[in-house]
Amino acid sequence: MNIKIPELSLILLVGASSAGKSSFAKKHFLGSEVISSDYCRFLVSDEENNMDATKDAFELLHYIVAKRLKRGKLVVVDATNAQADSRKSLLKIAKEYHAISVVITLHMPESLLIKRHEQRTDRPFDKQVIIQQRRQVRQSLKRLKREGFRYIYTLRTPEEVEAVQINREKLWNDKKEIAGPFDIIGDIHGCFDELQKLLKMLGYHIYEVQHEEQTYYDVIPPEGRKAIFLGDLVDRGPKSPQVLRLVMDMIKNNDAYCVPGNHDVKLLRKLSGKNVQIKHGLKETLEQLENCSEEFIEEVKVFLKKLVSHYVLDGGKLVVAHAGLREEMQGRASGTVRSFCLYGETTGEIDSFGLPVRYNWAKEYKGKAMVVYGHTPIPETEWLNNTINIDTGCVFGGALTALQYPEKRVVSVKAAETYCESARPFLLDTNDPETVQKPEIIQLSAQQEVDDLLDIKDVAGKKYIWTHHNRNVIIREEQAITALEAMSRFAINPKWLIYLPPTMSPSATSELPDYLEHPLEAFTYYRKRGLEQVICEEKHMGSRAVIVICKDIKAAQKRFGIQQDRFGICYTRTGRHFFKDTQLESTFLTKLRTALSKVGFWEEFDTDWFCFDCELLPWTAKAKALIEQQYAAVGAAAQHALTDVLPIIDQAKARGLEMDELSQFYQAKASAVEKYRNAYRAYCREVKDINDLKLAPFHILATEGQVHSDKDHLWHMTKIAELAKADPNLLLATPYKIIELRNERSVQEGVDWWLELTAKGGEGMVIKSFDFMSVQGESFWQPAMKCRGKEYLRIIYGVDYDNENNLKRLKKRGLNKKQGLALNEFLLGEEALQRFVKKQPLRLVHECVFGILALESEGVDPRL
């Protein structure tokens, strides 16, 4: 016997003990696919036959069954399953996960069962038990269909069992191997003229063919493309039969797919003689069909009957269904799935137009597959959580719309006329002042509205964040716990927060005696990784600042979905407002915006917004409290503690005490304190107003449609220098040098430059791989390394860090953890921008940014 089994099924083996279920299961299914009640008994009680453990064993069995079905895995339940109750609970699980239920009954002759039982030693019960079980199985056989099983097979002899062949069948909706490209077309409703026009616009050629007094259509798609019709081909419009003809012809030629809409299904029921209400445009269709031949109507019936509720295409990346489909139903087959595909989800309420209120499932959609659907007419298509409704209400006077996949291009043809009045108005009446959008208030898009409230589930707990460089970044639960507090208490509105800068590791600890850090180590690091060139950029001693700036408030509202009177924002490396003084921030951003206009960057980048990674100077602008409470305070304590020490030492020395050692030590200490104070003083300037601020951008991170991580650092530096010329008072072009790692002179030049910069009191420099991205295929390296000057490090490592003993100990610092974080945060930052630029839902951008903040909570030596 050939047994057909759909790929996603719940299979119940039914049969008395010793009927051979386990052997049958073993022969035909994988070990992981078979869950036996005996084994579950064994797991919970150490004994396979412990009847006391039955309840717990079945709870476990049901749990495993549910988990497998949830994951789309076939499962075989090896238990007697002789009682209706036990089958009912399994059937319920199958329904919940939209799996197809299959029963295979092994109904062996009683004599055989008893014979087998007597030969077994592992079944310590009387043969009466088996006789009773067999009776129950026999009674069950009649009831299986009524209980609701979809496929029922019964095997009555060992020979039949032996001869079984199991054929696993793909579900009809599974078209994963078809990758497109596709032209997906929304609800046509008999608008045949618009359909032809749209197909032609998409590059299809349509030829009318006459055959035996019938008109057929020969449609030639552009090379390699296929059309997908989202259903509701008929009703309301003027030419439903022609639409059906064309679609059927295309499908016959294997040039199109079609999923059914609720109108199509209703028509089928009518044609099949069912009693349906002739409403909502069915009347027109029936009238039009009156002129059609019997054969045609037969053909339509067969066609409609065969339509599959939805398709999963392109390796699971695309799902098409008339009314859309929730993630957990995709690629499944059940009555619930089919009805969702046809009718969508309603809340049960009725609106003022007497129509059911639709529940917007797409608002909560988090699936990986793009879902393209129709069903509900809307004035304009709009992306929401990777789903798009392309029913633009052609028949109601809107437009017929197609979505090109994978291009995501939307193509529309306006309706030639209004064929039908919509019960619920969906088009904005441009003459009605009430519904005309006021120009100054930008309405949030559906996506932006959903983005207003992020779900805690998307950030809390352990997370694996996939980056497009094929590296997963893991966020541990404790890290997320800390980040949640930082994010929700201190960070700016997540809608602005499209990026956070990564931490940066110092170069490896120098082997030179007097240095903790030295550029040679960084050069060696990159050379060892096969890089030819690096760029050295002067490191400014200020505070890290990220700037998002838009052309105007309107652009900010439109792109970032924030209903606030601001056109930009400046925030810190932990996502907090950089400026406490909003007036100052506004002045500052206005100046930057003017500079961008002056150099024509808005046009050149074809963008309404920029995101910059910068250093904002002076250090005192942001870190004043830290300097006063920490650096200056320690300096003051040290200096004034020592003032009294040296005279007292001298006094004791004058008494003839042996004070030389102490004297030397404290003189050295006093001089180190002086150096320490000078080191931090060099970076302190009073900030009175905007004129005291300097901004040194170093990355033009992203603009509309583009993340500029594909450009090398020379491009970034050059463009920024160009911008800086527009406002030299505010903007600072960072000095840089390109070093050829295999050229000794060039390397020496780099070292000399660093020595020169740090001798002048500079912080040092940042050495970056010439290309922005630090990942290529399998290999990756630090995107940037800092190399800080000797005196600057005094601020970080303490007054007398360079004392010989101290330095020796400080050199034993480990950098691995820091480097790991630097790379992961860098990847997440770039990923966040990529996702934002691709207009993905905010939760996906936020996930990355939140991840960076979470990684930053990791305990690493803060001096690195």
Binding site: S488, R681, G798
Partner: protein, 468 residues
């Protein structure tokens, strides 16, 4: 850090016998985190000065002293510990002058009974509270205090003064050296509230030992005790009780900072009033399940648990640390199963959609919204009034108008440094009105605390319920 003690006793060099340190020697001792050098810059019959020069290695400090409970300052790699008098100094005194501190002098017993006059100089001491605080502490013990405050940085006058002082203490009348050292031992660490070691019961006993005979009479004994024990209130209570022969009654939360006006709302019981009022409203609402959003360390939760009306209680806070404290304070780990089944604590933020908040009858949001940025309030509204949507919401926030009654507040500043805004009664009312219109609630507003004419009560409470 340098400590010098000069005496005018005749012959002054007798101090060498008491200290067990020969005036002609330079001696070094190792202590936790560094070294102490002892030498005499002057030593003659008329005046003799001993110098204790403490040298701490700040890198050592961070590496070696990873003590639980060690204060945040030590965690910084740049710290002032090597330069200021602190608990390290007490430690050093006990180490190098141990016999003098304990009143032992085998060779010259007579000197123990000889009072002397001293000048003590400390370079430097960190004092938040300045000369007045120094005087409050040292004057009752018979010292004349003078102190020089140092600027943060001479090159940046606008930064103002540092908290560091060079302090000179002169004995008004003669004193035993033991008493002087004991005073320094106990009092030097109390000024900056930093301690480098774990504070346990034996610290309290040490304080009792060193403070014997003088601390109980000191007018600021409570403050000294609390600061010495790093504000561990149970330890302070223990120490004060012992010190005062168990007669001392400690009133909960009567801690009033001595000189430093901490930003506490004057009436310490205001918070309790708020919680009582909220509890009352929650009880009236007939709610069976209740959310405490921003539950902090669980004060309200404890009150809710006592009411059998509440069958399901969920406490949520964004601070994991607070939740852990709440768990401890509620003895969650040892709670009886029936009790435990009633309560749950979760970490969450009020600006994120959170389905765990659904299906509760009531919510308490006590002094929470003022900790959110104003532009995040719309998200908060959605979470509370649209997602959680309890039948009743009890929400409190400060009344900004009342702030004029708090002398310690500067104009336009908030009661708490983390407050992002404080609303007047009118502003609060406007917001509640907006909430009612948007989410279908009705509201009643109540004052909390004593009302003052024209400015209202210190706190305000809104009770929302879903409109029928």
């Amino acid at each position: 850090m340098l400590l010098t003690i000069k005496t005018y006793h005749h012959p002054a060099t007798d101090i060498g016998f008491l200290l067990h340190k020969h005036p002609d020697k330079v001696q070094s001792f190792s202590i936790t985190g560094g070294k102490v050098h002892v030498f005499y810059p002057e030593a003659n019959e008329d005046s003799c000065t001993v110098a204790m020069l403490m040298e701490l290695n700040s890198i050592d400090l961070v590496r070696k002293l990873k003590v639980p409970g060690s204060s945040s300052l030590l965690k910084h790699y740049i710290n002032d510990r090597p330069y200021v008098a602190s608990s390290f100094t007490s430690h050093a005194i006990a180490k190098v002058f141990s016999s003098a501190l304990n009143g032992k002098c085998a060779n010259r017993q007579d000197l123990l009974e000889t009072p002397m006059s001293f000048d003590v100089k400390i370079s430097v001491l960190k004092v938040r509270g300045g000369l007045p605080l120094l005087e409050k502490i040292f004057q009752p013990l018979g010292y004349i205090v003078s102190a020089e405050q140092h600027p943060l940085d001479e090159n940046f006058e606008e930064w103002g003064s540092s908290p560091y002082y060079t302090v000179l203490l002169q004995t008004k009348s003669t004193k035993y050296l033991k008493a002087l050292l004991t005073h320094l031992y106990v009092l030097l660490p109390v000024f900056d509230n930093e301690k480098h070691y774990w504070i346990g019961k034996n610290e309290a006993d040490k304080l009792l030992q060193r403070g014997e005979g003088w601390l109980a009479q000191h007018p600021e004994k409570e403050w000294i005790t609390r600061r010495y024990l790093k504000n561990f209130s149970s330890l302070s209570k223990y120490a004060l009780k012992k010190m005062l022969d168990d007669e001392y009654e400690v009133i909960e939360e009567d801690v009033v900072a001595l000189i430093e006006p901490e930003k506490v709302e004057k009436k310490q019981n205001l918070h309790q009033q708020r919680l009582n009022a909220a509890l009352e409203k929650l009880k009236e609402s007939k709610a069976k399940s209740v959310l405490d959003l921003g539950c902090g360390e669980g004060k309200l939760l404890r009150m809710l648990l006592k009411e059998s009306q509440f069958e399901r209680i969920l406490g949520m806070d964004v601070s994991f640390k607070s939740l852990q404290r709440a768990k401890e304070k509620l003895y969650m780990d040892n709670m009886a199963p029936r009790q435990k089944a009633r309560i749950n604590l979760i970490q969450g933020a009020l600006t994120y959609y959170d389905e765990r908040l659904k299906d509760y009858d009531a919510a308490a949001v006590i002094e929470v919204i003022e900790h959110l940025e104003l532009d995040r309030i719309p998200a908060f509204e959605k979470v509370l009034f649209e997602v959680a949507k309890p039948q009743t919401v009890v929400l409190t926030t400060p009344n900004a108008e009342y702030n004029v009654n708090y002398n310690f507040l500067q104009k336009d500043s908030f009661r708490h440094s983390d407050h992002r805004f404080e609303w007047t009664r009118a502003e609060f009312q406007d917001w509640t009105k907006h909430v009612c219109e948007t989410y279908g609630y009705s509201v009643n507003i109540f004052p909390i605390g004593e009302e003052t004419e024209r400015i209202g009560a210190p706190s305000q409470m809104a009770v929302f319920s879903i409109s029928q």
